[in-house]
Amino acid sequence: MAISTFNLNFWYGQNKVIHDMSIDILEGEFVVILGCNGSGKSTFLKILAGLLPYREGMVTIFHQSLQSISIKERAKIIGYLPQFHNPVFPFTVEDVVLTARASHIFSLPSKKDYDRTAEALKLIGLQEIRKQPYTELSGGERQMTMIARIMAQEPRILLFDEPINHLDIKHQFEIMSLLKRITKELNITTVVVLHDVNMAMRYADRFLFFKNGQLYARGGKEIINTETIREVYRIDAVVGEVRGMSFVIPYMPQ
């Protein structure tokens, strides 16, 4: 078991956003979380990443309580991709990726850190643009850079919050294929929050549907049907299959 939550509850002030979540995620699984805006997807991911301290319930990462893992140790296990990223200073792609090694470094990076950075740049295919300022990259290249940064952390778990937002279709597929490849090749556990149900069906091993801070449904492709879509998104949909590929066509209820 890579990630396990038990009776997890979470409040923003008085506002309860996560209700009694008990979820198990296996090692090497590619899991997608789906649900409306405000259903608690991002909050759940942030809790797993250790960015939001929880007070009720339990989260374990490889059978170890998340709260007992130090910030430094956590960074060596979990790679988290935040939803928004607005850098001010034009650091180069290489320098941004190098920061992934912070948990290993006291003052200056060592040769090993530079090697890991080079490997990550190669894995994601960014050697060509490694000297370019991050601030001048396109949306897709930025996302690739942040993924390379996470890979340089050498994590065993990836938590990605809407990694394909703001990207064109080609880049959406590139990023998702890349994630899938990394997950399978390196036996990493990947949890991704997505809005696009079709994209989720193309890549995920398992699905978690969130509704109002609760787990509405979990399972494989078979749980994605008209009823689930209507309950979760309050919208009608045609679910079908063409050339072996499942699809969902949503439409406004009549």
Binding site: P82, V88, T99
Partner: protein, 315 residues
């Protein structure tokens, strides 16, 4: 070392003194005077100018990275107004000897106040840090105005003189009193120089790779405050150096702080040394260097701000 307002130590004499002082056994009054001017007046001033300029620049670069904005320097945290109030207080109420330590203490006190004001349950946000700095600066500025208002004119003059940063009264004792905190703070900031690259990317981005931004911020603000307060205590408020030099370095060499921290110190030190040399040789009357840094730095800054390059790359 060769220029100054005294003819006794004109360049030619200085060179002769430097090369002949061992071979020339006879001593006369002129030589003693020369020795005093060079060793006791000019040398400490050169060292002080370099250390002060370097400190302000490295602290400025550090604070710009911590606050993730190129538009601030270390004085944003309330150091200058706190120290100015401390100095005014001791000039008005105590004696001249207490000015340095009191200014230093109030500078550090102001930063501590800023930090604790901005502290919330969820850590320190950048906006609250900047706002708290503005509030603390305002608070000490009004206290300073009060001291100026009630103090007698003669003391008022020395307060005003002190506040316009200057290096006129550079002595070995001043060098000695500020050099230890400057060395400690600078070394500390140099150790932190790569970690500043991480912090500059963002709070969540730092936390995700294992650095607690709240802790790291403090680890950078403390040494930055230490060196800035030290400079204010010996040289008053020298504006613009901490703002412009990091900008200049970033513009020319890029944004990597592994390079920029040491470069900021060296270039900041050289800049202030150059400006101070100008200020003491351009006219018969020595002008306070604080006036010159603004006169020279202001237009440079406006130029940088207006030129497209900085807007694209650094804002």
């Amino acid at each position: 070392m060769f220029v100054g307002s005294s003819d006794i130590a004109a360049p030619k004499e200085t060179i002769r003194w430097l090369f002949c002082r061992h071979s020339n056994g006879s001593s006369n009054t002129n030589n003693d005077m020369l020795y005093t001017i060079i060793v006791d007046v000019r040398l400490p001033r050169i060292l002080l100018a370099f250390a002060v300029g370097g400190s302000l620049a490295i602290a400025g670069n550090s604070i710009q990275n911590v606050l993730r904005t190129p538009l601030v320097d270390s004085f944003i945290l309330g150091i200058s107004s706190g120290a100015a109030f401390g100095a005014a207080l001791s000039l008005a109420l105590l004696n001249d000897f207490s000015v340095q330590p009191v200014a230093f203490l109030f500078g550090m006190l102001a930063v501590a106040l800023t930090y604790f004001l901005s502290l919330t349950r969820r850590g320190v946000s950048l906006l609250s840090l900047i706002l708290a700095g503005i509030i603390v600066s305002g608070f000490f500025t009004s206290l300073l105005a009060f001291v100026q208002y009630v103090t007698d004119p003669f003391k008022l003059q020395s307060i005003v003189h002190w506040m316009i940063g200057n290096l006129h009264y550079a002595t070995w004792s001043k060098v000695r009193s500020c050099i230890i905190p400057i060395i400690i703070g600078t070394a500390w900031l140099l150790i932190m120089r790569w970690r500043m690259n991480v912090i500059a990317l963002g709070d969540e981005e730092s936390l995700a790779v294992g650095l607690n931004p709240t802790v790291e911020r403090l680890l950078i603000i403390i040494p930055a405050a230490l060196v800035s307060s030290s400079t204010v205590s010996v040289a008053g408020i020298i504006p613009m150096v901490g703002l412009i030099i990091p900008h200049f370095v970033r513009l020319v060499f890029g944004v990597d702080n592994r390079r920029n921290q040491p470069l900021s110190f060296v270039i900041g030190g050289s800049f202030l040394l150059f400006v101070d040399t100008l200020s003491r040789s351009i006219t018969d009357v020595e002008m306070p260097v604080g006036i010159f840094t603004t006169i020279i730095g202001g237009p440079v800054f406006v130029y940088l701000l207006k030129s497209g390059r900085m807007r694209e790359e650094n804002l």
